[in-house]
């Protein structure tokens, strides 16, 4: 019963946040609206033509009415149509999702494995040479802006190898359905670029929380029972140490659904992020709203899932 009440409250709160974000985006857009009609009609357009375009797009209606139409469509599952291409926003998103999902899922697998791996190694061998090595890596990862890393990888890996005739790491997205090998070759550098900063964050998080966990009483109990060190660390320690890591992963994946703008730009992948930048610059309101709402929904949902997961994993946490 408590659980249901918690869930209801959080979902309601989430809906309010989403609504606020949609209002904020809409309002922000109309504080200084880009002149969509003029961009569409070109320089030599007559006022009549401009008025016609505005009328066709519904831009001549009062702001509140426009918002009402949008909300009405949204509640019927219609995300609206793009001002520019005239295509439904949902089909535009569908076209942009494959590169973004390839990038985010592959990158996440990479950073989870490497991050947790390095974290565990440096926690179990604290103060060793390996720990030093890892922490230095973390430092560099923390200090390395994503786009610098991407640029350097393109220069050092792609360009140098392409001089030798190896065109594996070419920038640009290649659909996995057409040739998985080409797809893989082109995704490797973007994955590394996206994952590096995250590896730093995750290994530091894992290291800290595993060291915390290994200091707990139940670990002493487990050792006293005569369990092997391996079992103590991995079965007893790591299990609870991974709770905060899971939290972080949920939120990170959710935010990245809205596109990894920087990595997509460096490697010209043409995913959600790059389209969003273009939409923002041109003032394609409904596409922006769709992406903002998609991302915010994912974040809100991830937070709820994480909170619920927490209460199952750790009996001391209560849902309030």
């Amino acid at each position: 019963m408590d659980f249901l009440r918690f869930l209801t409250r959080r979902v309601l709160y989430g809906v309010v946040v989403l609504w606020l974000i949609s209002v904020a985006t809409f309002a922000l857009f109309f504080i200084a609206p880009p002149d969509v009609a003029r961009t569409l009609a070109g320089k030599g357009a007559t006022p009549q033509q401009l008025a016609g375009i505005r009328h066709r797009l519904g831009l001549d209606q009062p702001l509140l009415l426009q918002y009402w139409h949008y909300l009405d469509g949204l509640l019927h599952g219609n995300l609206g149509t793009s001002y520019y291409s005239g295509a439904p926003v949902s089909s535009m998103l569908k076209a942009d999702l494959p590169p973004t999902l390839s990038l985010v899922i592959g990158g996440a697998i990479l950073w989870v494995i490497a991050g947790i791996g390095f974290g565990v190694l440096s926690a179990t061998r604290a103060r060793s040479l390996l720990d030093r090595f890892t922490t230095t890596g973390v430092l560099i990862g923390y200090s390395m802006p994503t786009f610098v890393l991407g640029g350097l990888l393109l220069f050092v890996v792609f360009f140098q190898l392409s001089k030798a005739g190896i065109l594996w790491f070419q920038p640009g997205y290649y659909p996995i359905t057409q040739n998985p090998v080409t797809w893989l070759g082109r995704m490797i550098l973007p994955w590394i670029t996206l994952a590096t900063v995250q590896v730093a964050v995750y290994s530091r998080l894992t290291r800290g929380s595993l060291l915390d966990a290994l200091g707990e009483d139940y670990i002493r109990t487990a050792r006293a029972k005569g369990l092997s060190e391996r079992r103590v660390v991995y079965r007893h320690g790591l299990r609870s140490a991974l709770i905060p890591v899971t939290t972080q992963l949920g939120v990170d994946l959710a935010t990245l659904i809205g596109g990894a703008i920087v990595t997509e730009t460096v490697f010209s992948l043409g995913g959600v992020g790059q389209s969003t930048v273009q939409a923002v610059v041109r003032g394609d309101l409904f596409f922006i709203l769709a992406v903002v709402i998609l991302t915010a929904t994912a974040v809100v949902a991830a937070n709820i899932v994480v909170d619920v997961a927490y209460s199952f994993l750790d009996p001391r946490v209560r849902l309030t």
């Binding site: 802006p145 530091r204 703008i261």
Partner: protein, 341 residues
């Protein structure tokens, strides 16, 4: 040995011991710890040099007789119109428009440091004030702050920055504003938390009893005791602000050419790296060196102010503990600027 001699020795011993137990404030102790941290000192020196370079940029430019926006169409580009490599005339080579990369890197430091330091200053000021009020008064102010920080943290900040740039045209003030706006919330949360516990302390009660005003209590009694985490976060906010600015400029929504910023230089260079590596490498190196130095200094400051906590980037450890059981962490570093958040 005469009696007087013994007495003098005794006196000098007393003096010596009096000297050696001379009282030191926690700040003095922290300063001593920081000064003995070689990595932190080296980082501080690099930062000072960078600041000097940024301040002296016009002098450097006039000494070489070039300006950062000047396009050397005849000497700065080859006959095919390609950038010229590093050499005696152009130390770091030229870019695609024949501009001197060295001068532009020097000028880029101005933008990076200006944005990094000023947006951190604004964020610290706002974060401290809001955090103190929310923690001290609680209630409605606190609730509003909590909801507001939730919203700020849930907002895709890169998108907001791009939107603002599209609306008002990219400019430096907007960049500083956006970065400050997204930096203060985490800081105010920490100040709020500390204030919550400090306001229950006896000395605050005593201050209240002698009739100190709430403002006085907040800023004279509580503030000095929350300064340690504030200083640590501030030092670590600088590099993240610098990276944020570079990222915005890279995407074309921060500082735009002809003004030189490391971000927009790297952005330009990405279409030229196949022929002109210098154009990519030098600004990248400058950016990495700067963020690295600030991160290392921040780590050192944190270590000096709170020796109990684990260092983030544990360079060389001075204390050797048998088992690394960590105390509660004082502050988490601000997360590096990642995608989309």
């Amino acid at each position: 040995m005469s009696l007087t001699e013994v007495q003098t020795i005794g006196a000098s011993v007393e003096q010596a011991s009096a000297r050696s137990i001379e009282g030191r404030s926690p700040w003095q102790l922290a300063w001593r710890r920081l000064r003995s941290d070689k990595v932190a000192v080296a980082s501080a020196i690099i930062i000072v040099l960078l600041c000097a370079m940024a301040l002296a940029a016009p002098l450097i430019a006039s000494a070489t007789g070039k300006t950062y926006a000047e396009q050397f169409r005849d000497t700065g580009t080859t006959a095919q119109g390609l950038p010229v490599g590093p050499g005696s005339q152009f130390w770091f080579g030229t870019d695609s428009l024949g501009r001197d990369v060295f001068i532009r890197v020097v000028y880029g430091a101005r933008i990076s440091l200006l944005v990094g330091l000023s947006s951190t200053a604004i964020a610290v000021l706002a974060g401290v004030i809001v955090g103190l009020f929310a923690g001290y008064y609680g209630g409605a102010i606190d609730a509003v702050l909590a909801r507001f920080t939730d919203t700020v943290l849930a907002f895709p900040y890169l998108l907001l920055a791009i939107a603002l740039a599209a609306l008002f045209g990219p400019n430096l003030l907007m960049v500083i504003g956006v970065i400050s706006f997204f930096s203060w919330a985490a800081l105010s949360r920490i100040v709020r938390g500390q204030t919550l516990s400090l306001k229950e302390k006896e000395y605050v009660e005593a201050a209240r009893a002698i009739g100190s005003s709430p403002l006085r209590i907040m800023f004279i009694d509580i503030l000095p005791n929350v300064m340690a985490p504030v200083i640590v976060i501030a030092t670590l906010l600088v590099p993240s602000a610098i990276v944020f600015e570079a990222t915005l400029s890279f995407l074309g929504v921060g500082v735009v050419p002809p003004t030189a910023s490391w971000g927009n230089m790297i952005s330009d260079s990405l279409s030229w790296y196949t022929t002109s590596w210098w154009f990519l490498i030098f600004p990248s190196a400058a950016l990495i060196l700067t963020t690295l130095a600030f991160n290392l200094l921040g780590d050192g400051v944190r270590d000096a102010l709170d020796p109990q906590t684990e260092r983030i980037f544990a360079g060389r450890r001075r204390r050797s503990k048998p088992l690394p059981i960590e105390g509660p962490t004082l502050v988490e570093p601000p997360r590096p600027v990642t995608e989309g958040e």
